[in-house]
């Protein structure tokens, strides 16, 4: 079977799963659709298998799309169903596929309400994110991009915590606002392409060749950037994230942190910046500033939270600031670092959210004040939590280090180059970002300290204070294997990132080249005259 077909199979597998769910529930109606659990897990594992196979077949150090499928969809507008793997998305695809089974498995015991719908929604999120990553056509991209929202809306809204409605509506309205502006920018972009170059096409490759005057580029970039920035989220568009994370069920948090936030940075990398190189150059100082503010601001806020999930949520803001910093550095090391950091954050934050979920399953509280000394009570849990904490802090040998180190090195190199050229602004920003490393240690270790160490202290089952009365089991084998898989991945990416870097390097180079090549209209604004 050729790889393109396998790629499509991988993408559409969750849809098949969703279609099978009602059938399975009908066939085995016992216990409210318990049958959907193994079914979904099987689908996810199969998807992971396919993703792994495709990764293995992926030609490294090769530029361009691989395993592409292109079928005209809305021919009149030049829209094609166009999906492919490339250096930009390969790692994120793999990570998404990797997180899928873990999310599903982690929810086995936790989710007892509306089980079939839950797994259907998880599969939908999976499908939509995969589609967003694989899409090579702007229209298709947008469709998948938006399709992510609704299942996530439901995941938070149905299976979330107390203030879930507020959180989920906030999440949706925030992101939808960005999407609307992106839609406007998208239409304008395609229209401009068709008038200047005479092609009506949504294909990225065609759009990458669009020449636009600077002011238009700025306008359109703002549209795209706002949408992506909300998703990332960059300060000051971030306030939906802590709420969404706190209220979401564990699986939702993991999907949100692990997969969905990456779509924002991926969008910047794949679309936002390369489509509008001149505007990007123009806005780089501003965006870099926002990224660094995000690093510091997110860290500071994480420092003063009492809700464990909020701490991790704010840490996400901080960590994704690094991604933005790396992408904007336009230094190859920085870009590569940003890609690694994306994956790393997915693994680490995903792992942390899973662990918080496991804790919540046991004690029904996320209040840091309620806890203490878990290392004594749940030693295996503590070890796991510590590993994720340290990975989040960016300790060497973990993936967090690989990402942060390369991002910071890249940002610094870029800053120094500009410093030599006469402007030290970027250099200072890079230096501040390096200091963010300290803040990262501050809040994560605060979390670990209060959670794991000190005298034993856990909430009663009713959420109040008190000494332990009921012995609580440590992680069971299922939880251990879920976390173990993540830990292995974290160390793999920390110790042996080169294989991953080989796959993404052509894309990183292409990205840099796209942004460094001006695409202002040729001549005196007579756009498209020279073709």
């Amino acid at each position: 079977m050729d790889e393109a077909a396998l790629l499509n199979l991988m993408l559409w597998l969750p849809v098949v799963g969703i279609a099978l769910i009602p059938v399975a529930v009908r066939l085995a109606p016992a216990r409210g659709g318990a049958v959907t659990r193994p079914l979904t897990l099987a689908v996810m594992l199969l998807q992971l298998l396919l993703a792994g196979w495709l990764t293995a077949r992926f030609a490294v150090d090769t530029d361009g799309l691989q395993f592409a499928t292109r079928i005209p969809w809305i021919a009149a507008w030049g829209v094609s169903y166009h999906v492919a793997l490339d250096g930009f998305n390969i790692l994120l695809v793999l990570m998404t596929a990797f997180l899928g089974p873990l999310v599903v498995a982690s929810a086995f015991r936790r989710i007892q309400k509306d089980v079939p719908l839950f797994y259907a929604m998880v599969l939908l999120v999976q499908f939509a994110t995969m589609g967003t990553l694989l899409a090579q056509d702007l229209f298709v991209f947008y469709v998948f991009w938006e399709a992510m929202l609704i299942p996530m809306f439901l995941l938070i809204g149905i299976w979330g915590g107390e203030r879930r409605i507020y959180a989920t509506v906030k999440f949706l309205l925030y992101t939808a606002f960005g999407s609307i502006l992106m839609l406007a920018a998208l239409i304008a972009l395609v229209f401009t392409l068709s008038t200047t170059a005479g092609i009506t096409s949504f294909a990225f490759t065609d759009l990458y060749a669009t020449r636009l005057p600077l002011n238009l580029q700025l306008l359109l970039l703002s549209g795209f950037a706002l949408s992506f920035a909300i998703k990332v989220p960059m300060v000051p568009f971030h306030t939906w994230l802590p709420d969404a994370h706190v209220e979401a069920p564990t699986a939702g948090s993991v999907l949100l942190a692990g997969v969905m936030l990456k779509m924002g940075t991926y969008g910047f990398m794949k679309l936002g910046f390369p489509l509008f190189p001149d505007a990007t150059q123009q806005l780089t100082p501003l965006l870099t500033t926002l990224a660094v503010i995000g690093i510091v601001y997110g860290a500071c806020l994480a420092l003063v939270q009492q809700d464990i999930k909020k701490i991790i949520a704010y840490s996400s803001i901080s960590h994704l600031g690094y991604v933005m910093l790396g992408l904007l550095s336009l230094d190859l090391i920085g870009i590569q670092g940003a890609i690694i950091q994306m994956v790393s954050h997915g693994l680490v934050a995903g792992g942390l959210f899973l662990m918080v979920g496991m804790l919540y399953d046991r004690y029904h509280s996320r209040d840091l004040n309620m806890y203490g000394g878990l290392a004594k009570l749940l030693p295996v849990y503590a070890v796991g939590f510590l590993i994720f904490t340290l990975a989040s802090v960016g300790l060497p040998t973990t993936s967090g280090f690989t990402g942060e180190f390369m991002v910071l090195l890249g940002a610094f190199r870029a800053g120094w180059t500009q410093h030599v050229a006469g402007s030290s602004y970027a250099l200072w920003l890079a230096a501040i970002a390096v200091l963010g490393v300290v803040l990262g240690a501050l809040y994560m270790l605060r979390l670990a300290l209060h959670l794991l160490f000190g005298p034993v202290r856990v909430p009663n089952t009713d959420g109040g204070h008190g000494t332990v009365t009921v012995p609580v089991r440590d992680l069971d084998w299922a939880e251990r294997s879920i976390l173990g898989a993540l830990v292995l991945a974290i160390f793999a990416l920390g110790l042996f990132p080169d294989r991953a870097l080989r796959m993404t390097e052509p894309a990183a180079k292409a990205y840099r080249a796209l942004i460094q090549t001006s695409r202002l209209p040729l001549g005196d604004g007579l756009v498209g005259a020279v073709r």
Partner: protein, 642 residues
Amino acid sequence: MSQTLPAPVDAAWHALLLIVLLPLAGFLINGVLATALGGRNVSRRFVSVVACGAAFASFLLTLRMFLMLRAGGYLPIVDSVYRWALVGDYAFDVAFYFDRLSAIMTLVVTGVGTLIHVYSTGYMHDDKSYGRFFAYLNLFLFFMLVLVLGRSMLVLFVGWEGVGLASYLLIGFWFDQLANARAGRKAFITNRIGDAGFLLGMFLLHQAVGTLDMDTINRAFLINPLPAVSASLIGVLLFVGATGKSAQIPLYVWLPDAMAGPTPVSALIHAATMVTAGVYLVARMSGVYLQAPEASQVMAIIGVATAFFAATVALVQTDIKKVLAYSTVSQLGFMVLALGVGAYGVAVFHMVTHAFFKACLFLGAGSVIHALSGEQDIRKMGGLAKRIPVTFATFAVATAAIAGLPPLAGFFSKDEILWYAFASTGGGSPWLWGVAALTALLTAFYMFRLLWLTFLGASRVEPSVAHHIHESPLSMTSVLVILAVLSAVGGALALPHFLEPQLALPPVNEALHHLETPLVVVSVVLSLAGLAAAWFMYGGATSRAAAWQARWPGVHGVLAGKYFVDELYDRLLARPLVWISREVFLKIGDRLLLDGALHGLASLGQRAAGALSRVQSGSLHRYALLVMLGLVSALLWSWSHG
């Protein structure tokens, strides 16, 4: 520059890697067994054998490699393991590098490390988390070896952060007390601040040289030095990292608190090995520092200031480990002073001797604490010499060594530091010498004070404890003896000379050459003066010290309060940070401005919706009026653009 930088030779087999991996294997075995299986099915003997065996095997392997190194004419041996990353034209390789400097470091680390492992089997024998402890120790050893053997700064940094992690875990080893865990966190975070500087220095180097391999960097600086400003900037930034790890002003604050960990940890990590990593780093990067006079000057001043400052604090501490901790800070200051005046080999020399005698002191202190069932306050000791004679003897030897009494190890190394501080053309000055000499006097004083209060005089031990004071088991005393011997004879190693082909000593101001012997005499006299003063103050009635204390309560208060630096940092940094985060960022930024605007918009929408739906009053008249108004306005509009 007369230094030669010979081309490295490749290691025939991954011997260096093996040195590093053995402790890792020990860690994994013990760690997995201790946590995953709850340590139930694992005997202590098994744990000890694995842990000590791993350390000892590493030591033996290091010895073998050292012999190979010597056989190869001290050509550095390189063990390339794998390519960590390749980005564009820049490669980041994981490789180990074995030359004179790292050989010495490795030997000390594995040697002292093995000894302390053995010691710990006795010291920690009754601890519940025996397996976990040895797992951590092996983990530390692994990272420390990565640190000293790494060829690239990146690998060094891995070790650098890794030992920080091990330190964090070991300081907070008894984590049921929050204070211990807090101390661990403080250590980690303080180090992180230094690491930020380290990272920046590393980045700058990468930008300048295009690689992080330290031998290449040194060679590059030798052949084609950067402008002095850049070199100094790099130097200062790297030194910021060193101040963190090696507990120099202003980042020394974590080290005294780090005594919360088990005593063998204090000996191994916070005295003998890890804290010297900063010194090692500077020595390793001497190629850069040779081009960076300003950075060197900064180092010298910081070093001497730290040495003096810590020594004054040590004068009045009453916790046996705290005294030793400040003493460590002070001694590290000496080493940094040596680095600052360009005497890298001397710094390394002092580092080695310090490893011997300070490890001995800490382990001795551990033995005391062990004997007194955990008591650490020297005011509640005294007269222990007869009860635990081996400990006393070894402790005394080490005290004499640190005080700089000839012919013990400390005398040689400290004396060389004082000499270069005085006479080095690379920044030596009488001022530096003066302060350093005064510090040496203080050192002798507080160390003998410690000795007296602990072992001599009348017993002030609490009766409940007194009756089961006992000498430590053989596993501990044997280690003490070995270390005491090393402290005594270690001065004969003459390391600066050994290292000279690699780390040249700075040229000495010829005009001052004639002062060398008088200065030696002066320093010996100062040491003896310290001894005498301590005897004067504490040898007789303790009231004399109390009287002095009463005479200058302010001074005593400041010293006992450690100059209130911790409080200062708390007020100046920690609290403002939390305050700004909570009051400004969270309350004003997130809640008021961002969420406030959002909620404002939402309620605006709701209110607008309410107003609009009131327009729909149900009255047909109004509906018709709306039509008429719409009609009129549309007609009026149609007149425009006439």
